[in-house]
Amino acid sequence: MDAHVSFTLNGKPVTVTSPRDRALVWVLRDELGLTGTKVGCEAGLCGACTVLVGQEAVRSCTTPLGDVAGKAVLTIEGLAVDGKLNPVQEAFKDHHAFQCGYCTSGMILTAWAFLKQKPKASRAEIVEAMEGNLCRCGAHVRILDAVESAGQALGGAR
């Protein structure tokens, strides 16, 4: 049963006509054309589809559309402001913290949600924050380095 669901997407209001129980990832990719959010497992196990809802990193493959009504959704496409990369994006780019890039959007958004809360995180805390996101190419060490340096860029220098 289609419903009209309104929310803020990357800073702009949108209204989607789709079933409320439809997974957010399909709405983002298929209805709204934002394909930076990836589909990896469809079960909330890999983190490739991670987006921010409010301040929280969520799995858009297990988040029903209805849950984001009236909320602010941020995807990888909305992270750079006026063409200027977000500090986490910048750090991932500089550290080459990816190979195939398929997990990258989810990694960056997970890290961004975490660093906003805790820029001065220890390495162990970063590991814990990133633990739910899978990378198959083995960019892990660089991802941790990138998150650490992004934290420093955000004023979390220890």
Binding site: D30, L45, C100, G101, T104, V127, L134
Partner: protein, 700 residues
């Protein structure tokens, strides 16, 4: 598209470099007679706007080919790699090439591409000499401009030189720049795909949004060995927008939305027939041995085993096993296909655009010229996307729905079910060491499930015998190339066996290898690894948990050192540190090469400790990442990479070699930590506990 039509669509104002007959001796050679098309193979195109386009039939699977190949072109043409536009994996536009696998890109494609760029440089300089009225030796070249050294105002550009002309050249014998003059090779380069990948702009096959695209889900049997007999599609067909495509045992549900197709498929009731294999992940090893037994043949032998056995002072006999392992790329197999005007176009996630073109042509009984593959960014390959079965499925459906783009995107369960796994294998070894602990007197190897390729390493052995089954395929499940096929299976057995011999004879693992290694490059690499690690080896087990292993992939060598901690109550292995010393000849992009090694070490950790496809009959029990366990962040050790400096040697390729010795080094580290020898990959906590139980209790 034939060369003529390509040239017709190529605007005036281009210099196109073809790969002609004179380059027949170049390293790229077709694997099949006649496979290398003479009539269409432009590598480089310099346009009137001065941009340099590089056309390569490889794909960017995350390994950084896009960056390193652009570096080579830029090096010869004195450009910034950012000035080189890479067009990869389009079978209409790129020269025929081998698959993106086997670490072939740098070994085979790179020299040819460098040659093409060197040729372009010579042609452009020759044209500039004419235009500027000065000999080539008086000219300088940088960033697309050519000028007279003594009079820099007398200058021209690539764009001006080719403007209004349509030039064709065939590759001759121009040599690339000497290494000493290179300014890019050997220095880390920024990845060309970085911006696209951190902004979500990079397009993978599933990200195309062609107007009118329909999404297809295919009805799968619940088990291998079964095929669809009858299907009830009534409930699915009641959903608006659903269309059923049936072709024999192949049934697809098509819907405008990807999740809509999934939901509709769930309503299809299928009945399946056939026979599942009667084996499971526990019995697979005996199954392989039994099936192999009647037809064992000696594939190579040297010396007299009986004499060697008499000379041996220490003998070890052991059986090494590894489970089926999935490629588990994070991007599942995906393809969009469109049938239009008698041609099939596929936007695919593939490592091998040209092989896929042939495969689709064969499956649909079309001429290869009726199929065009356009590779997209590939979300991981590792051998799993060497062809692209989802593309063949998409093409079958698209053929029945002319003009409509059909997307097939497997879900994780399909991806784990349909993968061509790393083969499960058994390697039995019996071997001996002499009393002086300096020579392997005999080495008897019997294998099942794996081929003899990459079994040997440059160790001195007095007598050897390798036996493999004559039966081509013993496997009940589909197997395929998994990053450095065979090599890791053999390295795990061989390096574990050497470690066991060393420990039993009371010699440390480094000393034993120093005495056995016959190749000076490998000896230097061993020293480099041991020195960099800062290790004073002693006969194991020392309790420190440090393990050593060597590995090779063709002429690329790796020495791995690993340190682990083993929880003796849970059996959990935590890897603290891994170092690899790597010799793959000239390293073109040190940062790119380092990424490959880091990734391979990480993949090797998953292979060693947790990754295993469990199955019962034809049913695959691991259906998602909750039970199929890839290494997560907490499993990642401190990683060190050191390259041997061998610039005089041609680049060997870096994708496969570094994964080869990882599991072996970790197993040897577990032995050094505990005295328990793990011989079954993956050595999960349960298997480590079993191995710990077998450790003899020291008598009082």
């Amino acid at each position: 598209m034939k060369r003529r039509s390509f040239l017709q669509t190529t605007a005036a104002g281009t210099l196109t470099l073809f790969f002609g007959r004179s380059a027949r001796s170049a390293p790229i050679e077709p694997t099949r007679p006649g496979a290398y098309p003479e009539d269409f193979n432009a590598f480089l195109k310099i346009s009137a706007d001065g941009r340099v386009g590089c056309f390569v039939g490889k794909t960017e699977i995350g390994q950084g080919a896009m960056t390193v190949l652009a570096m080579l072109v830029a090096e010869e043409l004195e450009l910034d790699p950012a000035q080189v536009d890479m067009l990869m994996g389009d079978t209409d536009l790129c020269p025929w090439d081998l698959p993106t696998g086997g670490s072939l890109t740098m070994w085979q494609t790179a020299p040819v591409l460098r040659g093409a760029a060197a040729e372009a440089r010579a042609v452009l300089l020759g044209m500039a000499a004419k235009a500027l009225g000065a000999p080539v030796s008086d000219l300088a070249l940088k960033d697309g401009a050519i000028w007279v050294k003594a009079a820099p105002s007398r200058r021209t550009t690539f764009g001006e030189l080719v403007k209004g002309r349509k030039l064709e050249r065939h590759l001759g014998k121009v040599k690339p720049k000497p290494l000493a003059d290179c300014t890019l090779i050997g220095r880390p380069a920024p990845r060309k795909d970085a911006l696209a990948k951190v902004t979500g702009a990079a397009k993978y096959a599933g990200d195309l949004r062609l107007p009118g695209t329909l999404h297809a889900c295919i009805l799968r049997p619940p088990a291998h060995g079964l095929a669809l007999a009858t299907a009830d599609t009534k409930a699915a067909e009641r959903i608006p927008g659903v269309r059923i495509v049936r072709d024999g045992a192949f049934l697809a549900v098509v819907h405008p939305q990807p999740d809509g197709a999934r939901e509709a498929l769930a309503l299809v009731k299928g009945a399946f027939e056939g026979t599942e294999p009667d084996v499971d992940d526990g019995r697979i090893f005996q199954h392989l041995v039994d099936k192999a037994a009647p037809g064992q043949r000696v594939v190579s032998s040297r010396g007299d085993l009986a004499v060697g056995e008499k000379r041996a002072a220490t003998v070890v006999e052991a059986e090494y096993r590894n489970a089926y392992e999935s490629h588990a790329t994070l991007e599942p197999h995906t393809c969009v296909a469109k049938w239009e005007g008698g041609r099939m176009t596929l936007w695919a996630s593939t490592q091998s655009p040209f092989v896929l073109r042939e495969a689709v042509a064969e499956a649909l009984k079309l001429g290869p010229d009726k199929v065009r593959v356009i590779a997209q960014f590939v979300g991981g390959g590792f051998g799993g996307k060497l062809v692209g079965p989802s593309a063949i499925e998409a093409a079958r459906i698209a053929r029945q729905v002319p003009g409509v783009p059909i997307q097939v995107g497997w879900n994780r369960e399909e991806d784990l079910f349909l993968d061509g796994y790393r083969p499960a294998a058994v390697v039995k070894l019996r071997s001996g060491l002499d009393a002086a602990r300096g020579a392997i007197t005999f080495w008897d190897c019997l294998m099942a499930g794996v081929t003899p390729n990459e079994a040997e390493f440059p160790y001195e052995m007095q007598a050897t015998r390798y036996q493999a089954p004559a039966v081509a395929n013993l496997h009940p499940l589909k197997t395929g190339a998994w990053r450095a096929p065979n090599a890791h299976t053999h390295a795990f057995a061989r390096e574990g066996q050497l470690d066991a011999l060393a420990a039993k004879a009371g010699v440390d693992p480094v000393t034993l290898r120093r005495r056995l290694i016959t190749d000076a490059r490998v000896l230097r690499l061993l020293d480099l690894a041991v020195e960099t690690f800062g290790w004073e080896p002693a006969p194991g087990p020392t309790g420190k948990g440090i393990g050593l292993a060597c590995g090779a992939w063709r002429q690329g060598f790796v020495v791995a050192l690993a340190q682990v901690a083993v929880d003796k109550t849970t059996g959990k292995v935590q890897v603290a540190r891994v170092l690899e010393a790597v010799d793959v000849g000239l390293v073109v992009n040190p940062d790119g090469a380092r990424q490959q090694v880091e990734g391979a070490i990480t993949m090797g950790i998953g292979q060693a400790l947790s990754e295993e496809i469990r199955f019962k009959g034809g049913r695959i029990l691991d259906r998602n990442f909750d039970t199929y366990l890839l290494p997560r962040f907490s499993a990642i050790p401190r990683i060190q990479v050191v390259f041997a400096d061998t610039p005089g040697m041609a680049t060997q390729g870096i994708g496969e070699p570094p994964v080869v010795p990882v599991a072996a080094a970790l197993a040897n580290a577990v032995f050094d930590a505990t005295g328990a020898r793990v011989t079954h990959v993956p050595f999960t906590p349960e298997r480590v506990l079993e191995a710990l139980k077998r450790v003899p209790v020291p008598s009082a």
